[in-house]
């Protein structure tokens, strides 16, 4: 059983690691030309907040999702709060699904992350490309939205492993066997 002080320190370190991952994912997601096929690029912030919500529960996950979303709103030049709200709801939902219905395995998580990426990218495509009436909406969905969602899979697996590792490393030992 750990002392209260030690537990608090361990929690601070854990969330410090998550914040560092958040910065790293932001940089990876916006780095010009990295992992880019045509206009398609993988998402990094979304799988990170989903992995954290799967590991840390619905409340902490949803709050972290909102922070990741604010960061993404900034980098994507979207109206502040829009992606934050989307990610907060998604993180809450994913955490509930993982707790009640799905085992938290890497393959299940990758599947969830790709589905969520498809949802977020499709919503963005719908509101910012299809509804304004831009030409070539179908092609864009086929050649940008779908590949971007699929390209998110490898990063999701990596982030799931990293978050699992951090979560296990700083797990609170409450003495219960």
């Amino acid at each position: 059983m750990e002392s209260r002080r030690k537990r608090s320190r361990s929690q601070r370190l854990k969330w410090g690691c998550y914040i560092l991952l958040l910065v790293a994912c932001t940089v990876l997601q916006t780095m010009p030309g990295l992992f880019q096929f045509g206009a398609a690029k993988p998402l990094w912030l979304l799988p990170l907040c989903l992995a954290v919500s799967a590991a840390e529960g619905e409340f902490a996950g949803a709050v972290f999702g909102a922070v990741c979303g604010l960061m993404w709103d900034y980098t994507a030049g979207r109206t502040v709060g829009m992606l934050a709200l989307e990610l907060m709801i998604l993180c809450f939902g994913v955490s509930v699904v993982v707790q009640l219905y799905l085992k938290d395995t890497p393959s299940n998580f990758v599947l969830l992350a790709v589905v969520c990426a498809l949802l977020v990218l499709s919503a963005d495509w719908l509101f910012f490309y299809y509804m304004p009436g831009y030409a070539g909406a179908g092609e864009r969905f086929l050649w940008v939205v779908l590949p971007s969602a699929l390209m998110t899979a490898p990063g999701s697996w990596l982030l799931h492993c990293a978050v699992r590792r951090i979560s296990t490393e700083f797990k609170i030992d409450n003495g219960v066997v």
Binding site: K41, P42, Y74
Partner: protein
Amino acid sequence: MKDFFDTWKFKILIAIAVFLVGIMAYAGANGRLTAAPQELLSVAVAPFQRAAAAVSSGVASLWENYANIDAILEENQQLSEENASLRSQMVDYDKLKAENEAYKALANIQEQHPEMSYTSSFVIGRDPLDSFWGFTLDRGTLDGVAVNDAVISDEGYLLGVVREADLTSCKVMTVLHPSFNAAGVVSRTRDNGIITGSADYAADGLCILSNLARSTLSREGDQVITTGLGGVFPPDVLVGVIKELTPEASGKSTLAVIQPGADPRTVRHVFIITNY
């Protein structure tokens, strides 16, 4: 899980959601994209993005080469002889070198437009959600950058306009974006039109000059420049050359497809015109 909805944690989440909707509405109503929390995030993240962008040139080149291996091999064969003679002259293209080269180009631009003030800037971010190749630069309001400043390439070609300026970074809307609008003119014939982006051509890195007269004498290869009308863009900034001319859907005017002189999709270093 049922119990969760009765807890204070759930109420906090609802409060956060209401707060996010509130700032979204506030930002929307004020025509802004960012709010104070994000400006703080941007200040924290910009140095990391800047460092990453510095190494990304090499990584991106490697990745692009891998993705286009056939074309690269063919090109490599053609260039191998030339490379042999140039190998002895090759040097590392680090940031200072790149900036030095850029400033040499700037000297040429300044000869043509001595009245303008420029700020050198590197592209530090491109988000996958941006459909029209917008990017983030490493200069912000602290460097004198403001919304609606024109952004040009090292060679002086128009790339876009600053649409959001934070403290240490700014976001650029490119000439490929359909919301981009600048008064333009075909330099040879002096035919006026509107330089804007089009979803039909953005994927190929092309923009358009719309509202040209049906009887225009412009032809392929003519240079397009800005007129300065409207006061947002300085006059006589190069945009690109006409690639093709097509009648607009209404049939009343002609649309010129422009090949921009600099490609906003791949540009890594730019100049921001902060004063003219």
